[in-house]
């Protein structure tokens, strides 16, 4: 027998364990040795998503339609994949702004609007309090059933017991106490409750173990494994259609998809989920493990839902047992006393976890976003004159907790078995889904405005009321059923389940579709049409760019006015208590790098700090009001703030630009330096050239002048001497003329002003002519000149006189450099691919490798020019090379010192050269 005197002590003992865990967690947190600072506890605590509705209701739903409960867990699984992007951003923003509730988050984003915070709070309370009622009902219900053990007797449409005899009432009070003890121990800027989170994580474990135990017992204890259950189900008239239920009993694929979307939003926007995932988050890196651990938890939680449901239907076939109770009644029917008790505790933990966290989240909102703003505005309260408001604040918070829990209980008492309670799970989901556009839009879209958020939320909420909540009231008989059937005031177009005549969708799908159309539509449209205030612009940038900002210019609050440190400290002290205020200010001074708090300048940074600290305690909107009343603020015009923001972003843009420009500048500088070096080199070469030309001109001129003067001053010179001197004068004059001609020639060649007569010429004949011309030079030094000129070679395309000039230069060089009497020079003509080649080979001293390039430079000859007088003008080879290259060929030397030198050039044959020659002609 499981008498109530067994169940109640066990339940109380269980709650005692919870208290112990929470107490231990808080103690550890106070000592700085957090037990919840790990991703596993964080993931488990997210399991608060699974309430009594999951624990008992999933099986009921599976018994009816097979798979219809699954989107509620698949949606969150999918959403978890996006958490890395979305929730991480929300967490970052919340930590930076000390945001402690969803209402605070949305209101902060839109310029700390108290109105918006209030609206969010109201929607949350209306949407979620019935859900709390559902939990209370589940516990009371399961308690009643279990108390009948071993008989499986469902509670009839009973007359409600008097309140003082109602287990649900006492449970509500116990939960309120627990929540007050661990949820409002003190006012904390971060509003984190470590002990409580530890208790919630423990509860998640308990309900999972309990459900898995039932699942295993039903599947293998009552039946012979999964195939057995499904085999029997296939033979069961009611269950057979559920083996492939999609598009049939489980509804359309569209409703499946909408249910998925709905639960994707619920996992983020249910106040308890926001509380656990964002506010209670210790470290955003814990998200990583949670992204796969939490879905794994849900998978485990759902593994045995279908077997238990089908097993229950098969077991109680026709016995009139509510499928919602199968989890409890199957063990009872099988006389599994201990298991039944465990299941009861599992359901208890699912329900209490939800109630506790949801109550904390709602009470924070109610206190900070409904009560405080009103109190602060009421002059009669004279709040501004009270020195310490921490007590009042805690009182309000505690009051709000009791109020929320009792509201839940009240709704449970009123609704009883009504449809309005039974269907509340998904209706609640749909209510909190209305927060999605304003929140998600708010963190990615800077242009979204307060007016847009208000309009979207209000429109979505109204549509939700009309299409989901009020119809549930009508179905419960609290409103005339005509509201449902004929539409409000008999307007058929407004029928709640067929708004504007849209039929054929189930109620949730229909409501989601219309509420989202209204919500997103108004949000976007009004945002686009309205303008942001100063505060909104600032907050929009803070939220959207939270990852981008690393404490730059944008981090400073756009603020103008005068403040004083003592005033702000006093303000903090009133809400946080003197010790905490003092500690906070010292901490702030330390971070700003000031030794003493008294040195901290009362600037925008301090005001912002004070406001953020306060926001943790009383919410963003109230904090704004309080700070504004404490410091003297000059109103900032939109234009001023825009200027400030523009300046800040310009600074960033400039610094980017500056980096790029300075890189470009370095590159340009390097180029310039290189160009300058080249120019200097050219300048030096030109200088050298002029100096060298001058030198070369002066040398013959010296002889000419000297001998002219000698001849002039000495008329008595004898004829032979006179003759000798005159010859020198003539020789030197010729040398001078030659030099001048060559300099001019080179200048012409280099500037491209030389005249060219390019024609088909017979290179052999040209060589022979040149040999004749230089013949005297060779004979004079007794140097042998040999020519190897094959016949029948093609013509080349060239300027005859220029080629002769080159040949004479090469031949005379050879004649000059070989030893007199022993010299031997060969001129050879040969055919190359597309060209003819001329080699002038001598057996002179050769040219050192280092000099082989030098000799083609102007006035440079092999050897040291400082100490060796050139034997020629030093211009012959540079001119020759210019000529040959101009004619499309090349001129080069091969030599080894001591082994003679070979000067060679190639000229393209006439056909191949046609193009090059034409181009050359063109150029002249």
């Amino acid at each position: 027998m499981l008498h109530t005197w067994v169940i109640i002590p066990v339940s109380l003992a269980y709650l005692g364990v919870l208290f112990a865990i929470a107490y231990w967690g808080d103690q550890r947190a106070d000592r700085g040795r957090s037990i919840i600072a790990n991703p596993y506890i964080y993931s488990l605590s997210l399991g608060v998503y699974a309430t009594a509705w999951t624990f008992y209701g999933s099986v009921g739903r599976a018994a009816a339609d097979g798979v219809g409960f699954l989107p509620i867990y698949l949606g969150p699984t999918l959403m978890m994949a996006l958490w890395w992007l979305v929730i991480r951003k929300i967490i970052r923003i919340s930590k930076a702004n000390r945001i402690t509730s969803l209402a605070d988050f949305i209101s902060s984003r839109y310029g700390k609007s108290a109105l918006l915070a209030g609206l969010v709070t109201i929607i949350a309370v209306i949407g979620v309090v019935p859900y709390i009622a559902l939990q209370l009902k589940a516990i009371s219900h399961s308690f009643t059933i279990l108390a009948q053990y071993p008989d499986v007797v469902l509670p009839a449409q009973r007359v409600a017991p008097p309140v003082q005899a109602d287990t649900a009432f006492w449970l509500a009070l116990v939960l309120a106490t627990f929540t007050i003890l661990f949820g409002t121990r003190h006012l904390d800027a971060s509003e984190r409750h470590e002990g409580l989170v530890a208790a919630i994580a423990f509860e998640s474990l308990v309900k999972l173990v309990a459900f898995l135990a039932v699942g295993v017992f039903v599947t293998w204890g009552i039946y012979h494994g999964l195939p057995d259950i499904f085999e029997r189900a296939a033979a069961h008239a009611k269950l057979a259609p559920l083996l492939a239920p999609l598009g049939g009993p489980a509804g359309s694929y569209a409703s499946w998809a909408w249910l998925t979307v709905l639960s994707m939003l619920a996992i983020m926007f249910l106040p308890r989920q926001f509380q656990i995932a964002v506010v209670e988050n210790v470290n955003e890196n814990h998200l990583g493990k949670a992204i796969w651990l939490f879905p794994l938890y849900m998978l485990a939680m759902n593994l045995f839902v279908v077997p238990v449901a089908f097993g229950g239907v098969l077991h109680f076939s026709g016995a009139g047992v509510d499928p919602d109770t199968f989890v409890l009644t199957l063990p009872m029917a099988e006389k599994q006393e201990a298991l039944a008790l465990l299941v009861f505790l599992g359901g208890l933990s699912a329900a209490t976890g939800m109630v506790i966290v949801e109550t904390i989240a709602l009470s924070t909102m109610v206190c900070n976003d409904l009560v405080m703003p009103v109190l602060l505005r009421m002059k009669s309260m004279r709040l501004a004159e009270r020195r310490n408001l921490t007590g009042l604040l805690l009182g309000i918070r505690r009051g709000a907790i009791v109020a929320v829990v009792l509201l839940g209980y009240l709704y449970f008492r009123l609704a009883g078995e009504a449809y309005a309670l039974v269907a509340i799970g998904l209706i609640s989901f749909a209510a909190v889904a209305q927060f999605a556009p304003a929140t998600i839009g708010g963190i990615y879209w800077k242009g979204a405005t307060r007016a847009g958020a208000l309009a979207g939320l209000a429109a979505g909420f109204v549509v939700w009321l009309h299409t989901l909540l009020l119809p549930s009231f009508a179905k419960s008989g609290w409103l005339p059923i005509g509201y449902l059937q004929d539409g409000p005031f008999g307007i058929a177009l407004l029928r709640p389940y067929a708004l504007f005549g849209l039929e054929g969708l189930n109620d949730i799908t229909h409501a989601m579709l219309w509420s989202m159309v209204a919500n997103i539509g108004c949000y976007v449209a009004v945002s686009v049409l309205s303008r942001q205030s100063v505060a909104e612009q600032t907050q929009a940038a803070r939220f959207v760019d939270v990852f981008r900002r690393t404490g730059g210019a944008l981090d400073a609050h756009p603020w103008k006015g005068t403040a004083s440190l003592p005033d702000l400290k006093a303000l903090l002290a009133r809400f946080l208590g003197p010790e905490r205020a003092e500690a906070a200010v010292i901490d702030y001074a330390g971070r700003r790098g000031y030794g003493s708090p008294d040195d901290v300048p009362a600037d925008a940074g301090l005001v912002h700090f004070a406001e953020t600290e306060l926001a943790g305690a009383i919410g963003g909107a109230s904090a704004r009001i309080m700070v504004a009343s404490t410091v003297h603020e000059d109103a900032l015009s939109v234009d001023e703030v825009r200027t400030m923001l523009d300046e800040a972003s310009q600074v960033i843009a400039y610094s980017h630009e500056l980096t790029q420009k300075s890189q470009a500048l370095i590159a340009a500088t390097n180029e310039l330096r290189a160009a300058n070096e080249r120019l200097q080199e050219l300048d030096r070469l030109k200088d050298d050239f002029i100096s060298t030309v001058t030198h070369e001109l002066r040398t013959p001129l010296t002889s000419i002048r000297a001998f002219s003067e000698i001849l002039h001053d000495n008329p008595e010179l004898d004829a032979a001497e006179r003759e000798k001197f005159l010859t020198i004068v003539i020789q030197e004059s010729e040398r001078l003329t030659r030099l001048i001609n060559q300099v001019l020639d080179l200048a012409k060649l280099e500037s491209g002003r030389a005249e060219w007569q390019v024609a088909r010429i017979d290179l052999k004949a040209v060589i022979e002519d040149s040999i004749v011309t230089t013949g005297q030079l060779f004979r004079a030094r007794n140097v042998a000149l040999e020519s190897r000129l094959p016949a029948d070679l093609p013509f080349v395309h060239a300027d005859r006189d220029r080629v002769v000039q080159v040949l004479i230069n090469l031949l005379s060089n050879a004649a000059k450099f070989v030893l007199a009497d022993a010299g031997h020079v060969v001129v050879a003509l040969s055919r190359r691919p597309g060209a003819l080649r001329v080699d002038v080979i001598d057996n002179g001293p050769g040219i050192a490798a280092a000099d082989q390039q030098v000799i083609f430079e102007k006035f440079r000859q092999a050897g040291d020019t400082m100490t060796e007088k050139p034997r020629g003008t030093g211009l012959g080879l540079p001119i020759s090379r210019q000529i040959i290259e101009h004619l499309g060929g090349r001129l080069w030397v091969t030599s080894r010192p001591g082994k003679g030198a070979t000067f060679s050039f190639e000229l393209p044959v006439a056909d191949a050269a046609a193009v090059a020659a034409a181009a050359a002609t063109h150029r002249t």
Binding site: V67, Y253, T260
Partner: protein
């Protein structure tokens, strides 16, 4: 930051993959009166692909730790 961005992109891809797995038309392919391992094929499919998705999430998260 860079690594985090890559991780984010991979998770978005998994999200889209999950949408594909758990919606029409892929889901409809398995919604038939057949069995796999003694379990109706639609249940087997949903739970298996659910587990697969969780495995992939874990893979993306736990790599590059």
């Amino acid at each position: 930051m860079f690594r985090s961005a890559i991780k984010g992109q991979r998770l978005v891809v998994l999200f889209l993959f999950g949408l594909l797995l758990f919606n029409y038309p892929v889901l409809a392919l398995f919604n038939r009166a057949a069995e796999a391992f003694g379990v109706p094929v639609v249940y087997a499919y949903i739970f298996c692909s659910w587990a697969l998705l969780i495995g992939l999430l874990a893979l993306v998260i736990e790599r590059h730790r």
